[in-house]
């Protein structure tokens, strides 16, 4: 699941039955041997260029490893200009807000010339961000918080994605493909980000005269692909005007693919999902899935660092606020490129 962090947490917390295990999954802490301050791979500042500090997730998290790849690539330019980019990640996700706030303080204590950070937990982190801005150090908010957080804190910009926008893109894509009645399967009904995703789908498809209804599934089905698949199949059998299904996560997409097959409606029902993983890409390539919606984490790291560096050095600033890195629609047309990107650790 490549969701934003704060939303990952709330999604997981929504399912109380398996709260513990899911928090582990969603936030992905595995035992780490990093130092107490988290893992910081600090290149030596080689000249008099700016020292940029980036606060992010654990680098071995599949989502964040792609963000960090973008940061690393942007850092090449910074280093060429005599500056440095330092990645600060928490040791684990158990106490995320306070830990991330400490990492921001760490950056300040090392005389950062610029800070990039996600506003995962405003209550815990905004005070530290305020110190950054208060010391006239430029700040870019990325990944979580939205342009609202950036404006509130006085940051330059927000670089990241927006669930509602992502949903709209998916809905519009369904519309262009000719679908009229799309089922949005929500295995975590009530969570803000999943509701926004389904709402976006409905708004997006409305543009072409179609409609989307939500299929909320109770928590007793969460993480049981057979129960999810059978519920989707039942909905498909009950209403044969449904010609599209979209799921909020890749695991649910696997269940939905099976449901479509079991209901023998492969020819009339198109499948899409939020998020990417290899199984989705294989299905898109094989023709049994229409598309997946990607928030392109690489761009979050790459753009945030590049923008900050250029602002510090030359005062360059983009008028577009926020900078959205997604949604990108992955379908049969571009799946080969994406597969290559996934191999390279960028997508």
């Amino acid at each position: 699941m490549s969701l934003k962090f704060n939303t990952k947490k709330s999604r997981a917390a929504a399912v109380a039955i398996s709260a513990g295990a899911l928090l582990l999954t969603a936030c992905g802490p595995d035992s780490s041997t990093d130092s107490a301050n988290g893992d910081s791979n600090q290149p030596a500042a080689s000249g008099d260029g700016p020292k940029i500090f980036v606060v992010g997730g654990k680098a071995d998290d599949p989502f964040w490893s792609r963000v960090k790849r973008g940061v690393d690539d942007a850092a090449l330019v910074v280093k060429a200009g005599g500056g440095s980019v330092t990645w600060l990640g928490p040791k684990n996700y158990d106490n995320l807000g306070p830990d991330a706030a400490k990492l921001i303080e760490t950056a300040l204590s090392q005389d950062a010339d610029g800070v990039v950070g996600p506003d995962w937990e405003p209550d815990a982190m905004d005070e530290a961000f305020t110190k950054v801005v208060g010391g006239d150090t430029p700040l870019v908010i990325y990944n979580a918080g939205g342009i609202e957080a950036a404006d509130r804190l006085g940051a330059l910009n927000y670089v990241g994605s927006d669930e509602l926008t992502a949903g709209k893109a998916g809905g519009e894509f369904f519309g262009q493909d000719g679908e009229k009645n799309v089922l949005c399967v929500n295995t975590l009904p009530g969570a803000a980000n999943t509701e926004a995703r389904c709402q976006g789908i409905a708004e997006g498809i409305a543009a072409s005269g179609g409609k989307s209804t939500q299929l909320p599934l109770p928590s007793s089905k969460f993480g049981d692909p057979t129960a999810v698949a059978q519920a989707i199949k039942a909905a498909l059998l009950k209403d044969n005007s449904i010609d599209g299904v979209i799921t909020i996560s890749t695991g649910d997409a696997n269940a939905a693919a099976s449901a479509i097959q079991q209901a023998s409606v492969q020819d009339s029902v198109a499948l899409g999902t939020f998020d990417l993983d290899p199984t989705q890409l294989d299905r898109i390539k094989g023709g049994t899935q229409l598309f997946a919606i990607d928030q392109q984490p690489y761009m979050q790291g790459y753009l945030a660092v590049s923008m900050l560096y250029d602002y510090i050095n030359w005062g360059l600033e983009l008028p577009q606020k926020p900078i959205l890195t997604g949604p990108a629609i992955i379908n049969a047309d571009n799946v080969d490129t994406v597969l290559a990107g996934a191999e390279a650790g960028v997508r």
Binding site: V15, G20, A21, L215, P218, D224, Q230, N254, A263
Partner: protein, 354 residues
């Protein structure tokens, strides 16, 4: 779970009620532990036949509740056995997930033969059950706590290992040939999962153990009165360890089935089975405190739970209310069970017939 006779009494009568194939009169039938569960299943089914329409009764509609019931049943029956012996197993969720992930890692990620992946996955289940049983019997810590700890521990282990090895939380696996046929295929025109046959196998084997073999008496005795059971020479620790291994084995078998069925393993899968299996067992008339229950009852409990869970999607009602609906119907089913259990325990057989 309040009104019933004293524990030894329960054990004596329930053992008798489930062991002697005496005369089949209606009153005897009503006093069997599974009667309440049977009536609940039939009642719920009729309810959805009326409200769900033709799709519900068609073969694809039937598969909608039978497929999840089969997978749940493979776990619920051994869990039911364990509960009859007075213990709980809350670790089935993580056992399912870790077995599933083990198979995907061994045979998917590392490309080893599928048979090796399956054997390692099922062995992991048996090992977890053995550890659960060993800790419970040696430490006297309630199984609720021990297996809850195992559930968390194993979830963390599965996630940590998967992340370290693959850098992801979902691992793809492609299977074909015998493994796909045996574990993850459909029959009846691509409608019914082969898991249904596995479920039938579990029903027959466990039914024989509980109701025909001497081990069944041991299990009822362990759950009814542990001290007396031990005093009569029953190896109570070994019985419990075997039962923990049984429930974990069921969970890892479902893990294997789901992995091959959906061509991937997800670290977060399976947690729904922790409570769903206990719910199915309790609707099936098994006492939470142990010493009372039957395999057939658990089968009906599983069917009831599954029909209730899936039936609502055929009614056209707003699925927002699905959980409320589930809660109310579960309560009714269990209250009905209590009534039947009271009849079974307080009236007793009319006369001893030989």
């Amino acid at each position: 779970m309040t009104v019933h006779a004293t524990e030894p009494d329960v054990r004596k009568r329930s053992t008798r009620a489930t062991q002697t194939p005496s005369s089949f009169s209606l009153s005897n039938l009503l006093r069997r532990p599974e009667s309440g569960a049977l009536i609940a299943t039939v009642g719920i089914y009729i309810f959805f036949v009326i409200n769900g329409g033709e799709f519900f009764t068609a073969s694809k509609g039937t598969a909608t509740w039978l497929n999840p019931a089969a997978e749940l049943g493979i776990i619920a029956i051994p869990v039911g056995l364990l509960m009859i012996a007075g213990e709980l197993d809350l670790s089935v969720g993580s056992v399912l997930a870790s077995s599933s992930m083990t198979l995907a890692l061994v045979s998917g990620h590392w490309g080893q033969p599928i048979v090796l992946g399956v054997v390692v996955a099922l062995s992991l289940g048996l090992l977890t059950g053995f550890v659960n049983g060993l800790i419970v019997t040696r430490s006297q810590v309630p199984s609720f706590v021990v297996t809850l700890a195992t559930n968390f521990g194993l979830a963390g282990l599965a996630l940590g290992v998967t992340r370290a090895v693959t850098g992801s939380t979902s691992v793809a696996i492609e299977t074909d040939g015998w493994a796909k046929k045996v574990f993850g295929s459909y029959f009846g025109g691509g409608t019914f999962e082969v898991a249904i046959f596995w479920w039938l196998g579990v029903i027959v084997v466990v039914g024989w153990i509980l109701h025909m073999s001497k081990y069944g008496n041991w299990i009822f005795a362990v759950g009814g009165d542990l001290v007396s059971a031990r005093a009569t020479g029953i190896p109570t620790d070994r019985v419990k360890i075997a039962l923990f291994m049984g429930s974990a084995f069921g969970a890892s078998l479902v893990g294997v089935i789901q992995t091959i069925l959906y061509n991937s393993a997800q670290v977060a899968n399976g947690q729904a089975f922790v409570f769903n299996s206990i719910i199915a067992v309790v609707i099936g008339g098994v006492l939470l405190t142990g010493g009372y229950g039957s395999v057939v009852g658990v089968v009906f409990g599983t069917l009831t739970f599954s029909i209730v869970g899936q039936g609502i999607y055929f009614t056209g009602w707003n699925p927002d209310w699905a959980s409320l609906f589930l809660g109310v119907l579960l309560l009714i089913a269990v209250l009905m069970n209590n009534t039947f259990r009271r009849m079974a325990l307080s009236y007793g057989p009319r006369k001893k017939k030989g």
